[in-house]
Symmetry: C2
DNA sequence: AAATTTAGCGTACGACCGTTCGTATGTCAA
DNA sequence: TTGACATACGAACGGTCGTACGCTAAATTT
C-alpha cells in the first residue's frame, strides 16, 4: 500500500535509510552500500529508496554528511565547553577515542573507514571527505596552538605534525579492534596520544 | 591467437595480472578489482584472466600474498642485518615509512588500504589478512622487546601498545598524503614514531 | 610423429547493479 | 469536492559482475 505516509514519516524514512547505509558502510565501505541491499534490509522497493536522494552519489554524500554530523556531536561538542588549552585538547582526545571505540556502527568508526576507502579516489565523495577532514584537522591544529600559547605544550610543537599523529592513532583503532581483536585500544591510543604531545603517561604518577 | 604462450610466459602473465590487481586495489580496494576490468587493462579475455586463479577470491588471496611478499622485502629484509635492538627497530621504522611513502602503488600502501577495507568483514581474505598482520605485529613486538633488553628503550615499555602505535602511524600516511596532499608525512611519521618510543626527536641535537 | 597438456579466447549464463519510467495511494490546500 | 503534490511501488532498461563450458593452438611429453 503505497502513498500511505505523511511528510513527517518521509523524513523518518530518509533517516532510516541513512542510518542503515552508514551501518553497512562502516563494514563494507561506502561503495558497498547498494540500493538493492538497502531496499531489502528496509523492506522497501529500490525506487522508494533512491527516490529520496536522486542518485547513488547523492545518497553517499548524504550518508557522509550524517556521519560527519554525528562525529562532531560526539567528539567536538562534548569538549567544546572545556577550558581552552590542554584540558580541552585532552577532552577532545578522550571523547574521540571513546567514540571510535564505541561508535555505534558495526564496523567501527565510519569516518576512519571511509577516509581510507576514498582517500585516493576521484569524485565528489573524495572532495567532500577531504573538505570535512581538512576542517577537522584545522580545528585540531588550532586547539594544539592554543595549548602551546597557554604553555601546556612545548613551544616548538608542530601543530600539523601532532594533528596528523593524533588522527593516525585514532584511525588505527579500527583495524586493531576488528583485525586483531584488541581490547586495550582505548588506553593504548590515549597513551600514544600523550606521547606525541610529549606529555607524561596518564596512569602512573606523573613525575614521582 | 590463443595457446601461443609457453609455461614460462604463463607465469609472467600471472605476475602481470597480480601487479595490475594490486595497483587497482591500492586505489579502489581489493573489492574494486573486477575480472572484467583486469581483462580490459591487460588486453586479455575475462576467462584468460580468471583461468590462472579459478575464482575471484583466489585472485584476491594471491594479490594479498604478492603484496605481503613485497612488503616484507622492502620493509623487513633491508633492516634484517642491522644490529638487534634500537638500531634495527629504527631501521625497520625508516624502511617502513619510506616504503609507505613511495610504495610503487598509485594509491599508496596496499597493505594499509586493505587492512582498513577488510578489518571488519568476514571470509578468507579477512582471515588471511589478520594472520599476516598478526605475524607482522609479533615481529615488531619481538623487536621492541629486544630493544628493551638492550637498554635502548625504557624498561616499562609496553610492546603491544608501541607496536599498535607504530602501525597506526605508518597506516596514517595514506590518507594524509592522498586526502590532504601532505608532503612532510615521512618526517612527521618518523617524529611521531620516536615519540611513542619515548626517544628524543630526530633532527635537532639529541640533548645539547 | 603422435599424444597430452595447457594458456588463452569466445560465448553464454544468471544475478545484481543504478536508473528511469508509469502508477497507485495517501495528505493537504483551495 | 476537487486538484496538486509527495511517497512509495513494480516493472523494465542497459550494463557489469563472477562463473562455466567448449574450443583452438602452441608447447611439452611420450
Amino acid at each position: 500500500m503505497p502513498g500511505r505516509s505523511s511528510a513527517h514519516e518521509a523524513l523518518e524514512t530518509r533517516s532510516a535509510i541513512l542510518r542503515t547505509a552508514a551501518d553497512i558502510a562502516s563494514v563494507e565501505g561506502l561503495d558497498g552500500v547498494s540500493i538493492g541491499r538497502l531496499a531489502a534490509e528496509l523492506r522497501m522497493s529500490k525506487s522508494g529508496v533512491i527516490g529520496h536522494f536522486g542518485s547513488k552519489e547523492e545518497l553517499q554524500l548524504a550518508t557522509l554528511a550524517l556521519a560527519t554530523r554525528i562525529f562532531r556531536e560526539r567528539v567536538w561538542e562534548p569538549a567544546e565547553h572545556l577550558t581552552p588549552g590542554l584540558p580541552r585538547l585532552l577532552g577532545i582526545c578522550e571523547a574521540w577515542t571513546r567514540y571510535t571505540d564505541n561508535s555505534g556502527y558495526p564496523g567501527g568508526c565510519f569516518i576512519a573507514q571511509v577516509s581510507y576507502e576514498y582517500d585516493s579516489r576521484e569524485g565528489r565523495v573524495h572532495d567532500e571527505l577531504a573538505r570535512t577532514m581538512g576542517l577537522w584537522r584545522r580545528t585540531l591544529m588550532a586547539e594544539i596552538d592554543i595549548a602551546v600559547e597557554t604553555g601546556d605544550l612545548p613551544a616548538d610543537t608542530d601543530a600539523a605534525q601532532v594533528a596528523f599523529s593524533l588522527n593516525a592513532l585514532a584511525s588505527g583503532m579500527n583495524p586493531a579492534r576488528h583485525l586483531h581483536g584488541d581490547t586495550d585500544i582505548v588506553s593504548w591510543t590515549l597513551r600514544a596520544m600523550r606521547a606525541v604531545l610529549r606529555l607524561p603517561p596518564p596512569d602512573p604518577a606523573p613525575v614521582t
